[in-house]
Symmetry: C2
Subunit: 354 residues, 2 copies
């Protein structure tokens, strides 16, 4: 697949310089077609027919295996969730932390991680987003280090396996801006979340949680899918592996769409996204203040004191889709394997037009 | 809308006697069309564009209001979830129960309620599914009564408001088999779950939780949608009302589909479903042992010692879709406002054919 063939998969790219996969990725037509074919089956065969049910279970297994293969772990370590938020809540609820416990995070995390950390009841210790500061914040009371692999603000990459090995403390990684964006391993940590609707271009409401040792995390928010068998009082034998953490049923169209999204992804995706991201940083640097970063998120300040929200709206009118980082007066462009130099030039021209 | 017009909305009814809304409801073509129109917008405008984002938020507000109006409460008391399981987990996590606490439930609950009850850490006391037995199980340690409004096994209706007023104990109601199925109020209890993909014929992955006093339940599994503002350590000011409990973003197609499903529902839905359910019970009684019940679920034993799972498969081959109640060797037919006498006769004929 050439870059041009790849771009042709995404109708949104025909008209817009769509640079916001960090919020939600572009949708490919084959993904929507796979979803529609599955919807058609549900419409005609019945969503609650045995045949649909069995096919959905099979597709669920295939999806789990495909996500696992993509991130390079065994399917037994993958739970299928709706979001990174789901993953964080599953882990924090299962760890049973209390006010005597500490968790270490950074000052650049998304609320999808911060909210569950706070709700856990543990004391949340906030460090600067670099390895030394994070490690310096670890005390004998630290039960968890919980950080992003790639910061949603600047695209900076944190050395998660190093944090784990040097601290000796379990690590939960918010992988929302890393999986599918940068070639970086999910291994070497206890818990790793996946947002499939962003850089994997999967359907909304799809994601995953990788759990290195499923037996050691309590199933704190069970769904019907959690149990192999259960007693009248709700006590249950968990299903083998991380499937026990699956929080909800996923309908056939979601599974079919995610499978298709993983399948159509070109082999050169990571390399191209990295090259384009570097090109974006280089090209934007003379024009705006670009924040240091190494992922596929390029953060920069608005020019001449313009308000970030106003810039987002102005650019949208010109067909350039970026986002604002609220409370920081920063702008963020997301660069994917589907992005090209034209998108970059449209962004530059729109920023200069002011 | 006549019954024939109503039936024509559902393609699955053209070929099948689809009698399994208790698992998942039939999908109406206008619902799928509404979802497809929304998908088209996401495909062309970009899922992460400001315009799509703002439209999704508006549709989210409309959906919350529509669900609230349907169950007869204020929108401020409604959280939009993916399932009844979500609702049960949100409530149980937020109540912060421990081993000193007791919760009372019945021996006829779904794991979607039982699992969260067990995971709460409280002692789960199991009573027979009738009001006197449930009330007799209440002790000074009882912190919650958690029961279905309509039992998923037999369709029997429990007097939830009476359980609340006579016990003085907070009540969580599993509304999976009641909302949209029978005309019964969600009022008079603290927590009430809604499964929108069953009797409301909404998209998969839609549901709600009604919380009578949102301020009094802790937000134990926050999503980004939970907060009006937050601090670097994740502490946050919750959004007003039950919206603080919303566990996940719902994409535009899901919201559009649910709105359409609520809109196309005829006024005579409850009355017709009740009449047809009574007719099913009456017509089946000479043929099979029908369990007592008053909802739209009709449970009965297989004939002549036949295995329930085998009956489900045999009937599916004849185009009659019912389900088995695992571990009980029971069969269950779900009767909706879209069901007709032909469906009943097909079921009877298929049962007799053996």
């Amino acid at each position: 697949m050439t870059v041009e063939e790849a771009r042709a998969l995404f109708p949104v790219l025909e008209r817009l310089a769509y640079l916001n996969a960090g919020s939600v990725g572009p949708l490919a037509l084959p993904v929507v077609e796979a979803m529609r074919a599955a919807e058609e089956l549900c419409l005609l065969e019945g969503r609650g027919s045995m045949s649909t049910f069995e096919r959905t279970l099979e597709e669920r297994g295939r999806t789990r295996a495909a996500v696992a293969a993509f991130v390079g772990v065994e399917p037994e370590l993958v739970s299928l969730t709706a979001s990174t938020t789901d993953g964080c809540n599953i882990v924090l609820a299962g760890l049973d932390l209390g006010p005597e416990d500490e968790v270490v995070t950074t000052d650049s995390e998304h609320f999808g991680l911060l909210g569950p950390l706070h709700a856990s009841g543990a004391r949340v210790v906030v460090a600067a987003p670099d390895a030394e500061a994070i490690l310096a914040a670890v005390t004998p009371r630290t039960r968890l280090i919980a950080v992003s692999h790639v910061l949603w603000t600047t695209g900076a990459l944190l050395p998660i396996a190093e944090l784990r090995s040097r601290s000796g403390v379990p690590v939960l990684v918010d992988g929302a801006q890393s999986v599918g964006a940068v070639s970086a391993s999910v291994r070497g940590v206890e818990f790793y979340t996946v947002s499939a609707q962003k850089w994997l271009c999967g359907p909304d409401g799809t994601g995953a949680l990788v759990v290195a040792d499923p037996e050691r995390l309590r199933v704190a928010r069970p769904s019907y899918l959690a149990q192999a068998s259960y007693e009248p009082d709700g006590s249950f034998v968990p299903r083998p592996g991380a499937a026990r953490f699956d929080p909800n049923w996923l309908a056939l169209p979601l599974l079919a769409g995610l499978l298709e999204a993983l399948e159509l992804r070109p082999e050169w995706a990571y390399q191209r996204a990295a090259e384009l991201s570097a090109l974006f940083r280089e090209r934007l640097a003379p024009l705006v203040e670009v924040l240091p970063g190494d992922g596929t998120l390029v953060a920069f300040r608005p020019r001449d004191g313009e308000d970030a929200g106003a810039v987002v709206r102005r650019l949208a009118e010109e067909g350039v889709i970026i986002r604002e980082l609220p409370g920081r007066n920063l702008l963020r462009a997301s660069v994917g394997w589907w992005t090209n130099e034209d998108d970059l030039e449209r962004l530059v021209a729109a920023l200069e037009r002011r």
